[in-house]
C-alpha cells in the first residue's frame, strides 16, 4: 500500500550479511554501526526472538530498487524524515511555501511601492 519511498528495503549493497541492518539504517537515516551493534547485542538482552525477526525480515522484505540510488542527498534525507514522522515533514513543506510567500511578497511590495513608481516615472521622462 505504501508508495516506493516509504517502503522498507533490504540494502544488500551496503550490508554485511543480508542487508537488514543497512536497510534499517537507510530507512530512518541512523548510523549503520549502531544498528549492527544493537542487532548483535539484543538477542542476549531481549531474547532469541530477535534472531527470528532478523531472518523473517531478510526473507520477506524486497530488495532496494536501483532508482533510489539516484536521489539527491537532500531528497534522501527528506524521505528519511518522512518515514520517521510524516506529519512533521508535511509541516516542513508548508513552512517552505510560507517562506516563499514572504519572499515574493517582499519583492512585490518593493516593486509596487509609491516611491519606486515615482522614480520610474521620472526616469521615463528623462
Amino acid at each position: 500500500m505504501a508508495g516506493q519511498n516509504t517502503r522498507f528495503y533490504l540494502d544488500k549493497e551496503h550490508g554485511k550479511f543480508l542487508g537488514v541492518c543497512a536497510g534499517i539504517a537507510d530507512y530512518w537515516g541512523v548510523d549503520v554501526t549502531m544498528v549492527r551493534i544493537g542487532t548483535v547485542v539484543s538477542p542476549f538482552v531481549i531474547g532469541p526472538l530477535v534472531l527470528l525477526a532478523y531472518f523473517l525480515i531478510a526473507f520477506m522484505a524486497p530488495n532496494r530498487p536501483r532508482e533510489l540510488d539516484q536521489l539527491a542527498p537532500a531528497e534522501k534525507e527528506f524521505w528519511q524524515k518522512v518515514r520517521k514522522n510524516p506529519k512533521r515533514s508535511a509541516r516542513m513543506v508548508r513552512g517552505r511555501f510560507r517562506e516563499l510567500d514572504r519572499r515574493l511578497a517582499d519583492v512585490e511590495a518593493y516593486l509596487t511601492s509609491p516611491d519606486r513608481r515615482l522614480a520610474r516615472e521620472i526616469d521615463s521622462l528623462r
Binding site: A2, G3, N5, T6, L49, A72, V93, R103, V107, Y110
Partner: protein, 105 residues
C-alpha cells in the same frame, strides 16, 4: 515450591508481556506513520514544487539585487554579500538525469 514458582513467573513474562510490549509499539508506530500511497505521491509533488519555486525565487532575488542596488532579499546577510549564493537556499537538483526547466516547458 520454588521450582514451580519460577517458571510460573518467567513463562507469562516471556510469552505474554514481551510480545505485548513489542506489538504495542508496533501498532503505535503504524498509527503514527500511516502514510498512504496517495499521500506519499502528494507529498513528493509538493516537495518538488517547493524546490522548483524556490529556485525561481532565487533567480528573481538575484535579478532584483542586480537591478536595484538598494534592495536586498529577505534574510540577506550583509557579512556575506554574494549574488551567486542567496542566503536562503539549501537546494540541489533532484535527479542527475532530470531534464532542465527549458526542456520541460
Amino acid at each position: 515450591m520454588e521450582d514451580v514458582l519460577i517458571p510460573l513467573i518467567v513463562m507469562p513474562i516471556l510469552f505474554v508481556a514481551l510480545p505485548w510490549l513489542i506489538l504495542h509499539y508496533v501498532t503505535k508506530w503504524k498509527v503514527n506513520s500511516s502514510l498512504t500511497g496517495e499521500d506519499e505521491k502528494m507529498l513528493d509533488e509538493l516537495y518538488e514544487l517547493a524546490r522548483r519555486l524556490e529556485e525561481r525565487m532565487n533567480t528573481i532575488d538575484r535579478i532584483m539585487q542586480a537591478d536595484n542596488p538598494g534592495w536586498h532579499p529577505l534574510g540577506y546577510d550583509p557579512t556575506r554579500p554574494s549574488l551567486e549564493k542567496p542566503s536562503v537556499s539549501d537546494f540541489e537538483p533532484r535527479r542527475s538525469a532530470e531534464p532542465t526547466r527549458q526542456e520541460r516547458m
